[in-house]
């Protein structure tokens, strides 16, 4: 039995027996492969061992316990209750099914998980975005469309008339959040873009983006300073 091996290690004296070395590239060698002699004759022994492993898992998962999403979030394992489960847990203590049944069960996402975008609001409910065009400029997927308009609030210069993000094109890089100078766009909603039946439905309009905060129980306002004097910019001297 011989086979070709390519590795970057220097040939060692203790390694596999080298049968031939390539003249073109000395790293390509033909080595002698030593396999257990039973395996050369029949695969029965290996099959038996393999079946033992898979059967163990099958039995454990069919009759055994299931790790709940709470335990998964806390890094705990279920406690075996029945005698059979106890016996199984001796054979294989962990390795429970860790599948999360998504819509019903949700794992806790890390704090910096980038979820669906949301547009923040000012204290009086106006959209925080000042249509500075930083985010559509930085967006590598070119999926943000903003049409600015003059704001009728004298304290504010511009606001977006149209603010759309095509969630199908978004690569969830988070650069728009980084670029925003006034904390108007965030991706901390801890949720995913909703499945849609038509591509057009995946385009989040300004209203939808504002509604994301409420839908996911997030505070739509920000404590970040806006206009240089904090949230109460109207009381500017």
């Amino acid at each position: 039995m011989a086979s070709h091996a390519h590795d970057d290690h220097e040939p060692t004296t203790t390694g596999p027996k080298v049968l031939a070395t390539s003249t073109v590239s000395p790293k390509v060698r033909t080595i002698a492969v030593v396999r257990p002699s039973e395996q050369q004759v029949s695969y029965l022994a290996a099959t038996k061992a393999g079946l033992g492993i898979t059967l163990k898992h099958f039995a454990k998962n069919l009759f055994g316990r299931r790790r709940t999403v709470d335990q998964l979030n806390k890094g705990e394992h279920p406690v075996p209750t029945t005698a059979f489960q106890k016996a199984l847990s001796v054979v294989s203590p962990v390795n429970d099914i860790e599948t999360i049944q998504y819509p019903e069960e949700k794992a806790v996402y890390p704090e910096r998980f980038r979820g669906l975008h949301r547009l923040m609001q000012r204290d009086d409910g106006q959209v925080r975005c000042v249509a500075c065009m930083c985010c559509p400029t930085v967006c590598p997927a070119h999926c943000i469309t903003i049409i600015p308009e003059q704001s009728d609030d004298n304290g504010i210069e511009k606001r977006p008339a149209v603010f759309e993000i095509d969630e199908l094109r978004c690569v969830v890089c988070g650069l728009c959040v980084e670029a925003c100078p006034c904390d108007a766009i965030r991706m901390d909603s801890s949720t995913h873009a909703k499945p849609v039946e038509e591509r057009a439905d995946a385009v989040m309009t300004k209203e939808k983006l504002i509604a994301v905060s409420k839908e996911n129980g997030k505070n739509p306002t920000s404590i970040a300073t806006q206009g240089g004097v904090g949230p109460n910019w109207r009381e500017r001297g």
């Binding site: 029949s42 099959t47 393999g50 059967l55 898992h57 998962n61 390795n95 599948t99």
Partner: protein, 408 residues
């Protein structure tokens, strides 16, 4: 109506009807359920959950309905036919793959012979043995579509037609990968068919018949009842069981013998197929699993026999036999059961055996990785074939000695 009630048993005994019932009631549901069971079982073996969500409203049934969803999907999918294919052969190939397997079910005895007139009472075994033409035994229905003398040879012959399914699909697709898959499948089938046929020769020698119904009724020796598990061939022909199972799994073209498919390499002979045409290839594989389970159950595990259940009830320690042209029952512990209950138990036993064996095949399929082509050929020609030949000769020698010593 009169005509119908007079001829109802003759109609029920019609082979075509029995075949249709067998396919529709047992084979098709089992094969389609296997498509779901395979995914669930493999998930269980790999610490996953598997498909468990398909539902009709609140009815979820642990995801069993996935096979319905699959069927709906495949039927409603676009039936795409590439422009360069040979249309006739392209359409023929899936049928060639699935039809022989369905036909081969004709030889499987899936239940005992039913005597409708003694349905509510206990079957009179002695009376049946003495005078099979008597009134209570009239209109008997044999739960086997066709009992040929050449029995299992029919299976080998018909199933080798199924090989054309893969080859023709590969050829007609006008696609290099499909052609490679077709060639691989034909070479594999050809190698393993030899070993598969030969591995059962020992059983045929021992039983003295090729007819599966006969094998089930008598087991390894006619001295003991066919209902005795020690009389089933798995004990007497254990090496043959392993050889046959290996070759038979190779015949289904599934892992570890799935090089005709080889998803990461060539995708296989059905690479150009879509929708239900592909579904037929897929289903054919699962029907083959059911069929092979049925054959193994029939030949090695006593078919529809329930351990120690004779036609008239449970009987331990004795048997019904002929002594001096007189049929007698040699005592033992007997529990009489009505004929209907016996039949139901035996049908259930057959179903259970088939399901267990199908489960075992799925276990194998999700345990072993794929063989390399050269390993496959080595295993087929250098291991299975000589072993099958050797075992046949050993069995022949054993039988010769047994006859010489007067055991048989």
């Amino acid at each position: 109506m009169d005509w119908l009630s007079n001829n109802i048993y003759a109609i029920l005994d019609n082979p075509a009807l029995k075949w249709l019932l067998l396919i529709m009631v047992m084979v098709m549901p089992l094969a389609s359920l296997l498509t779901w069971a395979e995914r669930r079982q493999s998930a269980m073996m790999q610490d996953r959950l598997g498909p468990n969500r398909a539902n009709i409203g609140p009815i979820k049934l642990k995801g069993i309905l996935h096979f319905v969803a699959d069927a709906v999907k495949m039927i409603s999918k676009e039936d795409f036919i590439p422009g360069s294919v040979h249309r006739g052969l392209f359409a023929l190939a899936p049928i060639l793959a699935i039809a022989p397997v369905l036909i081969a079910f004709a030889i499987i005895p899936f239940g005992p012979t039913i005597y409708p007139h003694s349905y509510t009472s206990t079957l009179d075994v002695l009376g049946l043995a003495t005078d099979p033409a008597a009134k209570p035994f009239a209109d008997s229905i044999r739960l086997q579509v066709a009992s040929f003398d050449y029995g299992l040879l029919f299976y080998f012959a018909v199933l080798s037609i199924a090989n054309y399914g893969g080859v023709v699909a590969g050829w007609a697709s006008y696609n290099k990968w499909a052609l490679l898959g077709g060639l691989r499948s034909s070479s594999q089938m050809m190698s393993y068919e030899v070993a598969m046929g030969l591995s059962l020769m020992g059983c045929f020698l021992l039983v003295g018949s090729l007819e599966p119904g006969f094998i089930v009724a008598n087991g390894a020796s006619s001295q003991m009842s066919g209902a005795n598990p020690l009389n089933w061939l798995w004990l007497w022909q254990f090496p043959a069981l392993i050889l046959f199972m290996t070759a038979a799994i190779a015949e289904t073209k599934r892992a570890p013998f799935d090089i005709p498919e080889g998803e990461p390499e060539i995708i296989g002979y059905f690479v150009e197929y879509s929708g239900m045409r592909w579904g037929l290839f897929f289903l054919a594989e699962f029907i083959e699993i059911v069929f092979i389970s049925a054959v193994i159950a029939t030949v090695f595990f006593g078919g529809w026999q329930v351990p120690f259940l004779d036609a008239d009830g449970f009987r331990v320690g004795g048997y019904v036999t002929e002594i001096n042209h007189q049929w007698v029952s040699t005592g033992g512990w007997v529990l009489k059961l009505p004929h209907a209950a016996v039949t139901a138990l035996q049908l259930g036993a057959f179903g259970l055996k088939v399901i267990l064996l199908a489960w075992f095949q799925l276990m194998i399929r999700w345990t072993l990785p794929r063989f390399r082509a050269d390993q496959l050929m080595n295993l087929g020609w250098k291991v299975l074939l000589p072993c099958a030949l050797g075992w046949t000769m050993l069995t022949a020698l054993f039988k010769l000695c047994a006859i010489y010593l007067g055991w048989l």
